[in-house]
C-alpha cells in the first residue's frame, strides 16, 4: 500500500450557500436550492427550474476589471473555491509551495453571453434577415471585445487561478461532465502519490444556467419538463428528470506524511478510483452510462482501494432523477452490493443542489468528508415516502447517524462515461 493521499483544504459553492458550513446545515435541515430561473426570461422553455448560485462575482472576489471581464460564473466559482482551499490548507503563504502545486479541474461547457456577440450579428444582417458574412468579416466582428475569445476557452478559468495563486505544477482541464471531475481527482491523487507535486488541487465546476445550458440539457433529455415543484427526485418511482445546478468545489490533496508534518490532522483519504464507458442505449450516443459500465467503475474503485463491496458504508450516487439514469445506476448498485443486507446506504445530493455536472462529484466529495467527520448522512431530498426504487438503502426522512467510514462517490456523463471514487476515514 502506498501512502494515503488526504484532503487538507476544501471549499465549495452551491445554490444553498456560498460556503460549506451553511450548505451542510441546509442539507441536514432538508432544504433545497432549486427554484425558478431568474437570471433570464425562461418562460418559453419547457423546464423553468434550476439551482442557481448568487453572490459570487468580481466584487465579492475583489477582482480587477481586466481579469473579470473575461470571466463568467464558472470562473468566479473556481477562483473562489481554489483560493479558499489553498488558504484553508495554509499553503498560500508560501510562494515555493504554490509553485510546487498542481491543479486538475473539470470544467463544464463554456457558453457565450448573448451580449458578447449580438451586436456584431445584428449589424451584419442583410435585408432578408440572414447574415451578410462580408459585413461581418470586413468590419462588424471588430465590435466583439478583443479578449472575448479567451473567455470561451475551457481552460482559462484554471489558468486565471494559476496566475493569481502562483501555481506552476502539473495540470489538466477535463470536460464537461461528472465523470471528468472524478478523473480530475484521480489524476490529482496519482500526481501526489507519484511525487509529481507535493500538493495538487482538484476541482470541478458546472455550467452557468443560461439559455444555452438549458437548451443543451433539454436536447440531451436530462431535464424534467413535467414538474414545476420539486422537479428533481432521485430514485423516486415517480421521478421525471433532473434540473441544472450551478456551483462547484475544489479540494487540496497532499500526502498524509506531509500534511502531518505541517500539523494538519486530515480526516479522510482518496483511496480508489474507477472509470468505464458503455452507453445505456448503444444506438444512441446521448444516453448515459449502462448499468454494466457503472458497476465496473464502482467495482474498480472498491478493488483498487483494497476493499470489498460490503465494506462500503455509503454510496453517494450520481442519482440525477432521470428515469433511465437512476434505473441503470440502481441496477448497478443493487448488483454490486447484493447479498449485503443493505448495510450500505445510498444518498443523492441532486434533489437539493441540482445537477452540477462537472462540479457535482467534487461537491459530493467535500460533503462525504463532512459526513465522515460528523458521522451524519443527510436525508435524500424529498425521499420521505415509500416510493423509492432503492428501498431501505436510500437515506430518507431524517439525517442518519451512521458513522460512515468508507464512501463511494459516483459521477457520470450523459454520454456513456461512468466514474467512481472511494473516500475513506483515516
Amino acid at each position: 500500500m502506498s501512502e494515503p493521499v488526504v484532503i487538507t483544504g476544501r471549499s465549495l459553492a452551491t445554490a444553498l450557500s456560498r460556503g460549506l458550513d451553511e450548505t451542510w446545515a441546509s442539507l441536514l435541515d432538508g432544504r433545497s436550492g432549486i427554484g425558478a430561473i431568474e437570471g433570464f426570461d425562461a418562460s418559453g422553455f419547457p423546464c423553468q427550474s434550476a439551482a442557481c448560485v448568487s453572490g459570487i462575482d468580481e466584487q465579492s472576489l475583489d477582482l480587477p476589471r481586466r481579469e473579470s471581464r473575461i470571466m463568467d460564473l464558472h470562473s468566479f466559482i473556481l477562483m473562489k473555491c481554489a483560493t479558499e482551499a489553498m488558504a484553508e490548507s495554509g499553503l498560500q503563504q508560501h510562494e515555493d509551495a504554490a509553485a510546487d502545486t498542481g491543479f486538475f479541474a473539470a470544467i463544464g461547457m463554456v457558453d457565450y453571453r448573448q451580449e458578447d456577440l449580438i451586436g456584431a450579428v445584428s449589424a451584419s444582417r442583410d435585408e432578408q434577415g440572414g447574415i451578410d458574412y462580408d459585413k461581418f468579416y470586413e468590419q462588424n466582428f471588430r465590435d466583439i471585445f478583443p479578449l472575448w475569445p479567451l473567455s470561451m476557452l475551457n481552460n482559462i478559468a484554471l489558468c486565471q487561478v494559476a496566475v493569481r495563486l502562483g501555481l506552476r505544477g502539473e495540470n489538466t482541464v477535463f470536460s464537461p461532465h461528472g465523470d471528468s471531475a472524478i478523473q480530475a481527482v484521480a489524476e490529482a491523487a496519482a500526481t501526489v502519490e507519484e511525487g509529481g507535486n507535493s500538493a495538487v488541487l482538484a476541482g470541478g465546476v458546472g455550467e452557468k444556467v443560461s439559455e444555452s445550458s438549458l437548451a443543451r440539457g433539454l436536447l440531451h433529455g436530462m431535464l424534467n419538463t413535467r414538474d414545476r415543484v420539486d422537479p428533481c427526485r432521485p430514485f423516486s418511482t415517480d421521478r421525471a428528470g433532473g434540473v441544472l445546478g450551478e456551483g462547484g468545489g475544489v479540494v487540496l490533496l497532499e500526502s498524509r506524511t506531509r500534511a502531518e508534518a505541517r500539523g494538519i490532522a486530515a480526516t479522510a483519504a482518496v483511496s480508489g478510483y474507477g472509470a468505464a464507458f458503455g452507453l445505456a442505449d448503444p444506438a444512441d450516443a446521448t444516453t448515459g452510462p449502462s448499468a454494466d459500465a457503472i458497476r465496473r467503475a464502482m467495482g474498480l474503485a472498491v478493488e483498487r482501494a483494497g476493499r470489498r463491496p460490503e465494506e462500503v458504508d455509503l454510496v453517494i450516487a450520481h442519482g440525477d432523477g432521470t428515469p433511465e439514469g437512476d434505473r441503470q445506476e440502481w441496477e448497478a448498485i443493487s448488483g454490486l452490493f447484493s447479498g449485503v443486507d443493505s448495510k450500505t446506504r445510498l444518498y443523492s445530493s441532486k434533489g437539493a443542489l441540482g445537477n452540477l455536472l462537472g462540479g457535482a462529484p467534487i461537491v459530493d466529495l467535500i460533503l462525504a468528508e463532512r459526513m465522515i467527520r460528523t458521522g451524519l448522512i443527510p436525508a435524500t431530498y424529498l425521499a420521505d415516502d415509500a416510493d423509492s426504487i432503492a428501498g431501505s438503502m436510500l437515506v430518507r426522512g431524517q439525517p442518519l447517524e451512521a458513522r460512515p467510514r468508507v464512501i463511494l462517490i459516483n459521477g457520470f456523463s450523459y454520454e456513456g462515461q461512468a466514474g467512481s471514487l472511494l473516500l475513506e476515514a483515516l
Binding site: M1, S2, D41, S43, G44, F45, I70, F103, I107, M109, Q114, L117, I118, V121, R125, Y133, F136, Y137, F141, I144, P146, L147, P149, M152, L153, N154, N155, L158, C159, A162, V163, R168, E170, N171, T172, V173, S175, P176, H177, S180, Q183, A190, E193, S212, A215, R216, L219, S271, G272, Y273, A275, A276, F277, A285, R304, S413, Y414, E415, G416, Q417
Partner: protein, 431 residues
Amino acid sequence: MSRIMGEKRRVVVTGLGMATPLGLSVSESWDKALKGISGIRSLRYPAAEKSPVQAVGEVSEDDWDQIAGRFPDEAVVHGERRTLFALWAARSALDDSAFAVSKADPGRCGVMLAAGAPINRLEDINPWINPEGGFDYPRFGREYTQLHRESIMRNNTHRPSVLVAAHCGLGGPNGTISSACASATQALGLAFRNIQRGESDMMLAGGADSMINPVGLIFFVLLGAANTTRENPSGACRPFDRKRAGLVMGEGAGAVVLEEESHARKRGARIYAEVVGYGSSMDAHQVTAPDPKGVGAARSMAAAVSDAGMDPGEIDYINAHGTGTKLNDMAETLAIRNTFGEQADRLVVNSSKPLTGHLLAASGGPEFVFTTLSVHQDRVHPTLNLTNPDRKCDLDYVSEGQRSLSVGAAISNSFGFGGQNASILIKKYQS
C-alpha cells in the same frame, strides 16, 4: 491511491492515424512532411472571401467526402468536422495496430482525446434577435429544437471521445481534455500514465479540432495572434523566422494506439517506439501571453525528461510547439536553451505547423505521430519557410530540408493559450 501494480509498466506506440490538410494516410502525409510539401492553401470555406484570415490548413473536400462515406451514420447525426476527424484518425490507428478489441478485455481499453470546443454559430443567435436588437429568450425557449446539428447546444466537448469509444467498442476509461493548445499532448500523457499505472492495457489517444468556421476565423484575429497573409498561403506560417507573422489555423486529428509493452509483444505487434516520460506545467504569468522567459515551457520539458529517468543530453530531437508567433517561438527557444544548456546546440528542432497549420487543441496529435516516425525511422522533416532566421531563435531548426540522423529519444511540445504546457518523451524501442 493504492495501486495493484507496484512497478510502472512500459508503454509502446503500436498504431498511428491522422486526418489533416496533408491527407488521410499516415505514410503519404509523412512523405509530404519529409519532402516539405505544405497542406496550407487559400481558404475555401463558403462565403468567407472577406475573412481576414485566408491562409489555412483545411482538410480537402475529397478527403472530407471519404471520411463521411466511411462513417455515414455519425456524419448524418452529428456532422461536426472535429468529431468525424477523430473517428477517422482513431479508426486508422486501431487498424494500423492490428489490435483486435474482440480478443482483448474491452474494459481495459480506453480513449483519451483532446477536443476543441463545439461551434459557436452566429445562426444560433440571428433568428432570435428581437426588433429592439436584443435576444428573444422566450421565443428561443419555444424554438430551441430548431438548432442546427453542429450547434454548441447539441454537442458537448466530449462528443469525439464518446463516438470513438462507441465505434471501436472500447469500454475502459474515457476522457476529454480541454486545455487549449496543450490538450492533445496532455491527453497522450495521461493515457500513457493510465497504462503505466495498470488501469488499462490499451488507450486510443490524441486529439481533434476544427475552428474553420465564421467565429473560428476571427477568433485569433481578435487576439492579435492570427496570420492575415493573403499571398502565398503555403509560405504564411514561418516558425522561428524573422518575418513570422502569427499562427495559421489548421484542422484535423491525430490519434495513436498506446499499448502496454508485454501485451504488444505477446501479440507480435509492430512497435514504432516507446513512450517514456511526460510532464506538464503552468506559466502562472498572465493569461493573455506566454511567459517571455519560457519558464513554464522549460519546466514541462524538464519534468518529462525527469519522469523518464533520463538526462537532457540523451534527447536528440524536439518537435517544437513552434506556432510562428513572435512570442511563442522566442520563449520556446529560450526554454529549450535553459533546459538543455550546452546540449541545446546539438539538438535538432523543428515545427510541423507550416505543414498542417496549427491544429489547436488537436495539434499534439499529428505532431506526436511525426515525432514517433522520426524516432522509428531516424529521419526528421524540415521546418518550412525558415529563410530569414531570427537572431534570437538560434537553434538548429532543420531549415534546409529533411535530415537523417540517429533519433534515440525525442520530445513533442504543446503549449496552450492561458499558460498550460505539456511535453511528452518518446524513445527508440528496445525489448
